[in-house]
């Protein structure tokens, strides 16, 4: 999380943290273990009132940021979401709201205001079984037929897929990308819940079989959504990074506390140099994760040319080193660290799922090599 927040940002972060403490304490997360949605409407609406869904939306559409950079403000919410392992479609709803607001054609205005108020939620249908990577394009077909578009394909995993009211579907029309906003109830859309290691978030397979909707549902232009998708991925990665860092922070804090409280051989764990040194490594990885996450988010928010590069570095670093931090927290807890009763797994789950979403560390390292080549360091 950012080192130096201004007063409004700090107030916003605090209010978000308090609301999460109040509405989704750990006991509530446990109670909702088998709940099909993982959260209730009232919770999401309270958050939306606070601004969770409006930060990336332009003022003309009823949104607005706090510190001038909406994504930086949203990263504060995401950090608290990670710290609380909080439920709710924070990433996908914001990504969809931002794109609808940006597309500027006015036709989606009523959807935007529903998303802003928290009365409805949206998800983004990007991933597929093949190619199974967000960077290798998509197979989903979006055809134009007169004044309609027709969708065929399978999307997975779609976050909150069973709960979402609106689905932003990324597909291809010939060689170009097209995005369409599909009401979840459209004929030909079927939703199958997936298994997941996440306890608070839900994912689905969504099948689109000859789904026919009016072409007014197109967001942007047919076959020209590549840039739009790229921006969505940037935002999604930035939000997921901040969230993953928040989860790391909680696991680290819990484990430090444990090291002070737990005695063996007559002394606290925190007094053993072997463990102290591991805590120092973890603290270093945590600070480094905060640093690269914040740098990348700021670069995206400012439209800086190195934004994608920093994002890839952040996603790769936070995924890899964050997992080491998480698993070392488990190790230092011993057996209790792999029980359901202990809270550690809530944050471990959150971080682990975030690691896999929107590009794995290995995928982002391949992208980083592309950037290095592009810089001309390599002839």
């Amino acid at each position: 999380m950012l080192l130096n927040l201004d007063r409004d940002q700090e107030l916003f972060r605090e209010t978000t943290a308090k609301l999460l403490d109040e509405l989704v304490p750990v006991g509530e997360l446990r109670r909702r273990r088998d709940d099909p949605d993982g959260f209730d409407d009232g919770y999401w609406r309270r958050g939306a009132e606070l601004g969770w869904t409006s930060l990336l939306v332009g003022e003309e559409n009823g949104g607005g940021s706090i510190g001038g950079k909406g994504l930086v403000d949203l990263a504060l919410v995401a950090y608290e979401f990670g710290r609380h392992a909080a439920p709710g479609p924070l990433v996908v709803t914001n990504v969809v709201a931002a794109t609808l607001s940006e597309s500027g054609d006015g036709g989606h205005g009523s959807v935007i205001s529903e998303l802003l108020s928290g009365r409805s939620i949206a998800s983004w249908c990007l991933g597929e079984t093949e190619p199974n990577s967000p960077f290798d394009g998509v197979a989903m077909q979006i055809g134009v037929d007169g004044s309609d578009v027709v969708l065929n394909g399978i999307k997975r995993p779609v976050e909150s897929g069973a709960r979402a009211d609106q689905l932003l579907v990324t597909g291809r029309t010939g060689d170009g990308m097209t995005q369409v906003l599909v009401p979840a109830g459209a004929a030909g859309v079927s939703v199958t819940p997936m298994h997941t290691i996440d306890m608070t978030r839900r994912f689905s397979v969504i099948t689109f079989e000859d789904v026919r909707i009016p072409s007014s549902a197109i967001v942007g232009d047919v076959g020209k959504a590549d840039e739009q998708v790229r921006r969505q991925l940037q935002r999604a990665v930035a939000i997921v990074n901040a969230e993953a860092v928040g989860a790391m922070q909680s696991a680290f804090d819990i484990t430090v506390e444990w090291a002070f409280d737990r005695y063996s051989f007559g002394r606290p764990l925190a007094s053993y140099q072997e463990l102290k040194h591991r805590f120092s490594d973890m603290k270093t990885w945590l600070e480094a994760s905060q640093a690269i996450s914040d740098a990348a988010t700021d670069a995206v928010a400012s439209g800086s040319p190195d934004a994608e590069e920093l994002l890839a570095a952040a996603k790769a670093f936070i995924g890899d080193y964050g997992s080491e931090l998480m698993q070392d927290c488990v190790q230092i807890h011993g057996g209790i660290g792999v029980t359901f009763e202990h809270d550690l797994h809530l944050y471990l789950r959150r971080h682990t799922v975030d690691r896999a979403l929107f590009g794995t560390p290995a995928e982002h390292r391949q992208r980083l090599c592309d950037f290095v080549e592009r810089h001309g360091e390599v002839a």
């Binding site: 080192l3 130096n4 925190a270 805590f279 600070e287 480094a288 920093l310 391949q366 290095v372």
Partner: protein, 423 residues
């Protein structure tokens, strides 16, 4: 020029100076002092050029950006230093006058020097006339700095120093030493130390160059035999050297994160980092291999993260959000990252890491760099010490057990032999 010079006009001023006066350097022109690539004559010529460039910076009101104006500095902010770093990217700069001269040595002088001491040395340092070394580590032990054995005995208005200091980089072409010495053996170790400054080229001070495993002779050991230091060259109070030493080591851990030090941005002056690894990959012609691409990507990830962390820590310490001791976090990460990047370079180099010819380009460095890999985790305070500092001072965990805390230093058990090369 005023103390509140705005960043944009400062940038224009810097850019005009840089373009008119400094030589551009290619990304491969950097010479790592530990790579043993220069003859002594070439090294001395490079030192002379560094002094010259420093003087040019001084004359252009661009030396000591964050040093107070009354000592020849510019009295500007870390943001101005940041601009200078950015504008110097791709150009020569006085590398040998940064650490340890400007920080920690000049930084310690600013913190603890008398007005007379500061007037005498800070402007001279900023003009490139004085290059300073840290006479801190001793052959008897590197990490236990407060266990210094170099003795200073008072004789009227002066002190007589005897002992040995080690791991000074380039002491053979440097001018002054900041020296931690023992002045009282009858109190616990932290309470019997005093800090002095002394010219390196003088009677009784012998500088030996240590040959490293790769043939580099930049590290030195000094032998002090009845070296006389006037009491006016004492820094801080008698027997209170640990107060000075604590700040001194804080400045040391800040390394290039210190706003007192100039480090051009980008990779042009770095011997490691993603650009090094990518040049290795180019020269092995293995860039189509996905496993090599993964390693290049990892190096770039570490490089960018290291930079972001440095910035976070210097901002955190400057604004007081982070404790000074957090500098150890940057030190630990930087050391480990640099070692990992050298391992990646060696891995990509393949067979050429073991045996190479003069035509192998960047591959020629990979083997020896790998052998020297741990230098980044040893020099400037070991990463083990950094881990102690982070756990104890940042996280507040219990201190390590020591057997020398409440004992007169003369009674503390010591090495059977003095230690150090040739001991």
């Amino acid at each position: 020029m005023s103390t509140d010079e705005d960043l944009e006009s400062f940038r224009r001023r810097v850019r005009a100076f840089v373009q008119a006066n400094l030589h551009p350097v290619s990304s491969t022109a950097f010479v790592d002092p530990l790579r043993n690539e220069r003859t002594d004559e070439e090294e001395l010529a490079a030192v002379a050029r560094d002094r010259e460039v420093q003087r040019m910076l001084f004359d252009a009101d661009l030396a000591g950006i964050c040093f107070p104006r009354e000592y020849g500095g510019q009295g500007l902010s870390p943001a101005h230093q940041h601009v200078l770093n950015a504008e110097l990217a791709g150009y020569e700069f006085p590398a040998r006058l940064q650490a340890p001269t400007l920080s920690p040595c000049a930084a310690v002088l600013l913190d603890f020097g008398t007005e007379e001491q500061k007037q005498r040395h800070i402007p001279a340092i900023l003009k490139g006339e004085e290059i300073w070394m840290q006479f801190l580590s001793e052959p008897s032990g590197g990490s236990d700095v407060a266990g210094a054995l170099t003795a200073a005995v008072r004789d009227g208005d002066q002190w007589m120093l005897n002992g040995s200091k080690i791991w000074t980089t380039g002491a053979w072409w440097s001018d002054w030493g900041l020296c931690l010495a023992r002045t009282n053996w009858d109190v616990p170790k932290h309470r019997g130390l005093t800090v002095f400054m002394l010219p390196i080229r003088q009677q009784g001070l012998e500088v030996h160059r240590i040959e490293m495993l790769n043939g580099s002779k930049e590290f030195c050991q000094e032998f002090l035999t009845d070296v006389v230091v006037p009491d006016s060259d004492r820094i801080g109070e008698i027997d209170d050297g640990w107060t000075v030493g604590t700040r001194w080591m804080f400045h040391e851990r800040m390394l290039t994160n210190s706003p007192l030090v100039t480090v051009p941005m980008g990779d042009a002056h770095k011997g490691d980092g993603a650009s090094f690894v990518s040049r290795v990959a180019r020269d092995t012609r293995r860039l189509s291999d996905p496993s090599v691409r993964d390693l290049v990507g990892e190096a770039h990830m570490l490089d960018l993260t290291d930079r972001a962390l440095r910035q976070r820590i210097s901002e955190g310490i400057a604004t007081g959000v982070m404790a000074d001791q957090s500098a150890a976090i940057g030190r630990l990460f930087g050391g480990v990252v640099s070692a990992r990047i050298r391992t990646i370079g060696f891995e990509i180099a393949g067979l050429a890491g073991a045996a190479w010819t003069d035509d192998d380009g960047e591959l020629a460095y990979c083997g020896t760099d790998f052998l020297m890999r741990q230098v980044s985790c040893i020099g400037g305070g070991t990463t083990e010490m950094a881990r102690n500092v982070i756990s104890e001072r940042v996280l507040g965990m219990p201190r390590e057990l020591t057997l020398d805390r409440n004992v007169a230093f003369r009674d503390v058990p010591r090495n059977a032999s003095p230690g150090g090369p040739g001991a």
